[in-house]
């Protein structure tokens, strides 16, 4: 924590998306990371193995 100067002990902030739906910023960051990993998995080339026909 000291390294980043960020205290995660405090309750998270929320983004009120709509009347009854909201998402916490830490969870939103995780969702964005997961989506980014999914897109990368689609886009990045799969390592080539030994193809046998």
């Amino acid at each position: 924590m000291e390294l980043l100067g960020i205290s995660l002990d405090q309750p998270a902030s929320y983004w009120q998306i709509w009347d009854w739906i909201s998402v916490s910023i830490p969870n939103l960051i995780m969702i964005i990371i997961m989506l980014a990993l999914f897109v990368l998995a689609l886009v990045l080339p799969f390592p080539k193995g030994h193809e046998e026909s």
Partner: protein, 336 residues
Amino acid sequence: MSSKSRQSRKEREAFFSRPWSGPNRHYDIFKEGGIALLVVTVLVVALSALFSSPDDPALTFKGWAQNDGNTLYATAVAELAGTSDSAGYGPPYNSNSDGVSLGPLFLQKWGGVTHPIDAANDFVITPLSSQVEPNDVSAAIKQWNAATPDQQAKWAGDYDTALNDQAGAAGDPTKVPAGDYGPVPDLAKGVVAMASTGAYDNAMTGQGQFFQTDQTKQLLLMGDGAYLDDAATADNLQGNTWGMMNEAGSWPGQQWLAFASVWYQLPAFNAPDDATGITRTLTDNADVIIAAILVLLLVTFLFTPYIPVLRDLPRWIPLHRLVWKDYYTKHGRQTT
């Protein structure tokens, strides 16, 4: 089954059981698993070093008595009066209500009372009787035990009503108007005094077993008062703020529980206390209804290959062709 449909089924089975004639690729699952393990281990160590991890101290009755004694006092009174959540919860703790239901299915009631809890005795009288009490509390215990159930209910009910009168005492024991409340005020005072020394925590955890792993009573009593509720609200751990999947503080929560937690955000499952009708029913039975929805979703997922529209989604949204783009680049849309 007609001979035609039997024939087409045989054809389908024959089609799908043909030996694979496409290209093969060498694949080392141990190598991939080893690399994944290494990456995850490095990430875990690095992120733990940078961000630490949640380490909130457990809530205790001692902390409750010292920080919010009046709500513990009011909770003890509610346990004696039988008006607390756990006193009226129904099975598996008592028979004071039918419990939650899924329409006409009273699942809790069918389960029966398997973990009997007598709120007044288990939360107030028994813990107080486990130690030497001041004279007024000892006398109150004797008076309570000697009274009839009707008399006990009258004392506790009257005091509970007077204590929670928002136009009167509003939860402040010092402002309760005089009345015939029997030993109830002394018993509640005894619980707060016992809890503030830490003795109540010990009495509740050491319930006759060497290794005590059953925390049911402590959790029920905590849940009956405002202390746990307020702590959960402060840390965004209530159901309507994704509490089911949240972590304390600002650490990210368990994303894989989002599909279950999302239902608790819906207004239909968050009716205000004065709501009536269908939203009242949905909110009161939210846990079992949401559990049923999740089972339905799981079954739907399992049977996707047999459900029209759902099973056609990969054809309409061919994401798999992006995943296996090398194959589809070489072979087009052919299946072999």
